[in-house]
């Protein structure tokens, strides 16, 4: 093993060399008397370990580490310090040192242990990096396969749709009599053909939908709207189907449901799926759709309840899995892909909701889903400049946020305790305590405080400071002056990541 000792004091260098010889590990030891020389040797020759004095003339051990990381040189690096200061140690480790050893009476005994520890740490780190790289690569590969699968599915779907168009039109033209009179038998068989072509079309649509949902490629046109409207549309479409089977289909709509954000076409698809399933599995009675608002959970609850045969307890967990059809392989008479419910589940979940079923065998089923009502977030802005407070307040209020304002750090801390805002926006320079102090007190007084904090500053040097502390405190920042879009996009992304 090749070791480089960087040490300006010849006595110390000699001592270190002697300790290394005594260790009797066959170390090959070279030495440098100053940092520049050491750096050159590290880059030009290949070493397995570096032992570097903390204090050197010219560059320090910290500088050596920084330069090494600039040059992407990573080696087991041990720093020799004259004092056992924790602060220095932490700083060194942050810059990439693997361990440190204090130059005192225990130096001779400690050094070999520290060397071993540094080497172990280095090996663990390298192994971790290797594994991470492997994982990344296999993830990439998986993603690629996924892409291939999903583009294959959409290609196949396209290819299937084209001939289906001609078949469907051919049948329709014959059925409507425009190509000549047809007799009752001919009509019956054409009807059969038509029904099955339509079924085939639905299957292709399901497979494509599923593949898009699975690869998260489905684009949702989210719009604020009234879910009752969608329910009414579905009832209008499904009512004739229910009545044909002597079943009722009714909507029990509570008049005061908050508007929510959803894709109405996709929600229509989910409701159609649930209602047509309910009709399919019900012989007597009917289907009722109800909608209500859960004010505590801030959700809209939709329930599709039937008086059908219900679902056996053992079957409940299978229900939302893909390619599942109840009744086993010999009873696939309902004619679906077994994708309907898993598609519905994906759609609801990508809306931020949840779907489940409650059922008692023999007594009917209730399919329920909830959709979130957009939460109004509470934001506290702390700044001693009233103008800034006004601007922030305007930006936030115009976009539906609840705004609290504090003109000093202490006032801000109090407001946080009593109001628990979802996000805190704090200026670095306040007239009593600094923004840092606010954050430090927040984190130390309340270990569980994990809500996002956005730091504001108008000074470049302060931003540099925030950036340096970014890692340990994870502080996102915004520099003043900012415009509405800059500010809101920061606020939104912080809240989103936090939720």
């Amino acid at each position: 093993m090749k070791i480089l000792v960087i040490e300006d004091n010849p006595d110390h260098a000699l001592l270190t060399k002697r300790v290394l010889e005594k260790a009797n590990q066959g170390y090959q030891v070279n030495s440098a008397r100053e940092a520049e020389e050491g750096l050159r040797m590290i880059i030009e020759e290949s070493y397995d370990l570096v032992i570097c004095d903390y204090r050197l003339p010219g560059l320090s051990a910290l500088d050596v580490l920084k330069k090494m990381s600039e040059k992407r040189q990573d080696l087991p690096f041990v720093v020799v310090t004259s004092s056992g200061s924790e602060k220095i140690a932490v700083e060194l480790m942050k810059e990439g040192a693997y361990d440190y050893v204090v130059k005192d009476s225990s130096y001779e005994d400690a050094l070999p242990i520290v060397i071993q520890r540094a080497i172990d740490r280095y090996n663990v780190k390298k192994e971790k990096e290797r594994l991470e790289k492997e994982l990344r690569e296999s993830n990439e590969k998986l993603k690629e396969m996924y892409e291939i699968k999903s583009s294959f599915t959409s290609m196949v779907s396209h290819e299937l749709r084209t001939p289906l168009t001609a078949i469907k039109e051919g049948i329709a033209i014959m059925l409507d009599g425009s190509a000549g009179e047809i007799n009752a038998d001919q009509k019956e068989f054409l009807d059969i053909a038509k029904r099955n072509v339509d079924r085939l079309k639905r299957l292709i649509d399901d497979v494509l939908d599923f593949s898009k949902l699975e690869s998260k490629k489905m684009v949702f046109k989210m719009q604020k709207g009234d879910i009752m409207q969608t329910i009414k549309e579905v009832v209008a479409v499904q009512k004739p189907v229910a009545e044909e089977r002597n079943l009722y289909l009714k909507a029990e709509l509570d008049g005061s449901i908050s508007k929510i954000e959803f894709d109405s076409d996709r929600m229509n698809q989910v409701l159609n799926n649930l209602v047509s399933n309910a009709i399919k599995f019900t012989k007597i009675g009917g289907v009722a759709i109800s909608v209500s608002e859960d004010r505590e959970e801030n959700t809209v609850v939709v329930c599709v309840k039937d008086t059908g045969k219900g679902i056996k307890k053992d079957d409940l967990p299978k229900l939302f899995q893909k390619f599942q059809q109840l009744g086993g392989p010999n009873q696939r008479k309902t004619g679906g892909t077994g994708l309907g419910l898993s598609i519905s589940k994906e759609i609801i979940e990508q809306h931020g909701g949840k779907i489940w079923v409650e059922s008692q065998y023999g007594k009917g089923s209730e399919f329920k889903f909830i959709l979130p009502i957009k939460k109004r977030y509470k934001v506290l802005v702390i700044d001693d400049d009233k103008g800034v407070l006004d601007i922030c307040e305007t930006f936030l209020k115009n976009n539906g946020y609840i705004v609290l304002r504090s003109e000093s750090g202490m006032e801000g801390l109090k407001a946080i305790q009593s109001n628990m805002p979802d996000l805190i926006v704090v200026d670095m320079r306040l007239n009593d305590i600094s923004g840092y102090d606010v954050i430090d007190r927040l984190r130390s007084s309340n270990g569980t405080f994990a809500r996002p904090i956005l730091v504001m500053s108008g000074y470049a040097d302060e931003i540099a400071k925030i950036e340096n502390r970014k890692e340990e405190l994870s502080l996102p920042w915004i520099s003043k002056p900012f415009n509405n879009d800059e500010f809101l996009s920061k606020v939104e992304s912080l809240l989103m990541n936090w939720a």
Binding site: H158, R161, L164, E169, G170, I173, S178
Partner: protein, 123 residues
Amino acid sequence: MSDRKRVLIVDDEPDILKTAIFRLKKAGYEIITAKDGKTGVELAKKEKPNLILLDVRLPLMDGYEVCQRLKSDDNFKKIPVIFLTASVANKIADKIKEFGAEDYIIKPFEPEELLDKVKKYIG
């Protein structure tokens, strides 16, 4: 000279052409057809139809380009263009805006859909 409205159908699938021709003729339209994009543009310019039904995937020139060429020409940009597409993946709703087309129909369509859309634009 007949005063019947003329529809140009551009589609490379002969069977789909045939069913569409049958339907639209029954409804009283005069039909001209092209089986590739290049011929589609030429015919549109020569014959000045009242409406164009345009498949997206076509030989020689795709439907989007056909549409763009016609819509960028003052003499032809008023002719309504309805895209026909079997692909639900390519966000057709955005594409018709991008290329200035009037409407779209996704294949396979329901029997009334084709006629309804044609009637909507040229009566």
